[in-house]
Subunit: 206 residues, 2 copies
């Protein structure tokens, strides 16, 4: 088993090599470390979890590394998802190229606001929350993204779980309860700002 903190970094290495221009065939732990603010020693240590061997003074072969990490991180597996709450954050996620490239397949958008229901966002039409249960069952949806206000988040979560969703990606600032067998990840982007400010105020790196 690869530890989560290593998987998190492996994904950063993947998205870096994936953004390299086609003529770059080798990437060193130095190059990866500098671009991502990670020590080259740690990069080398992380790479021991991969079967791709580096070459002294050249580094890792980009095409092989990209393909290996793509499989390891399951980026080649598409997952049907719905986004509930098509406000500012929900619409930013629905439009985000990065999610499309990582094979999150958004198949449905839901909201309760009569002014939003029936309008289009990208190439999807926003549906009313009342239609979500049947939609999830008919479209093999496994992941639900929650971008509604905090007071509605648990209710939306229960609806998603009740319809058979197995993974919940939550952005509302509230600790959700899910039954065993349902995987929950809550984002809390304030955490990023808190760590940035600590660096700034302590004017050093840990």
């Amino acid at each position: 088993m690869i530890p989560w903190v290593v998987l998190e970094r492996l994904y950063l290495y993947y998205s870096y090599v994936d953004s390299l221009p086609p003529e770059i065939n080798w990437v060193s732990s130095q190059m990866l470390g500098e671009a991502l603010g990670i020590s080259p020693d740690l990069v080398r240590k992380d790479m021991t979890y991969c079967e791709i061997k580096g070459k002294p003074r050249q580094g890792y072969p980009v095409p092989e590394l990209r393909n290996y990490l793509k499989k390891l991180l399951k980026l080649d597996t598409s997952v049907n998802s719905v986004i509930v709450g098509t406000g500012r954050l929900g619409s930013a996620l629905a439009n985000y190229e990065g999610l499309k490239k990582s094979n999150m397949h958004v198949v449905g958008l839901f909201d309760t606001d009569p002014k939003k229901v029936g309008t289009t966002l990208g190439d999807l039409t926003i549906m009313h929350l009342g239609k979500m249960h049947d939609f999830i069952k008919e479209n093999d949806v496994v992941c639900g993204v929650i971008t509604v206000p905090a007071h509605s988040a648990q209710q939306v979560c229960d609806l998603l779980v009740g319809a058979g969703v197995k993974a919940i990606w939550n952005f509302a600032p509230v600790a959700l309860k899910v039954p065993d067998g349902v995987y929950l990840r809550s984002e809390n982007i304030v955490q990023g700002f808190v760590l940035l400010r600590i660096s700034l105020l302590e004017a050093n790196q840990h």
Copy 2:
């Protein structure tokens, strides 16, 4: 020095105890662990970095723990910030209660879109990017948030650094270059989805 990964978790403990109703005076490592999906052993280990002692069978005193963590995480220090790019993501951040509560003080919003410049978002008026340099100098701004398209991000970053900003919080999917002495944190929320999908597909926890 407390390791970053521990600080990340301490912030999650803080935001959990900060959201507890006032009549709850004690919180156990069990309670914290269950709410946040972290093992109680790890919670207890993290708490050894804090000077707050737990009591057997009762746990940690909530008011003392909250105040201690607030200081440790520098949540009581306000930082003047600007957001550059007031589209979907930028406006979601400008309106997010969580950032206000963590003492990020957004004092300026900037964009280049003539349809947005001059309109209001919350209680601020969106200004044109051309006014940002002087605004940063006159308003003691130390942090810049980048929510513009990837192709404009480095140029916006250089403008912020040139005006004297010392911390950059970047959401554009591109590896930015900053000089020494400027602290950079890049968010990559796709990473969260990638880890969630791995849990789902491997149907287990690491």
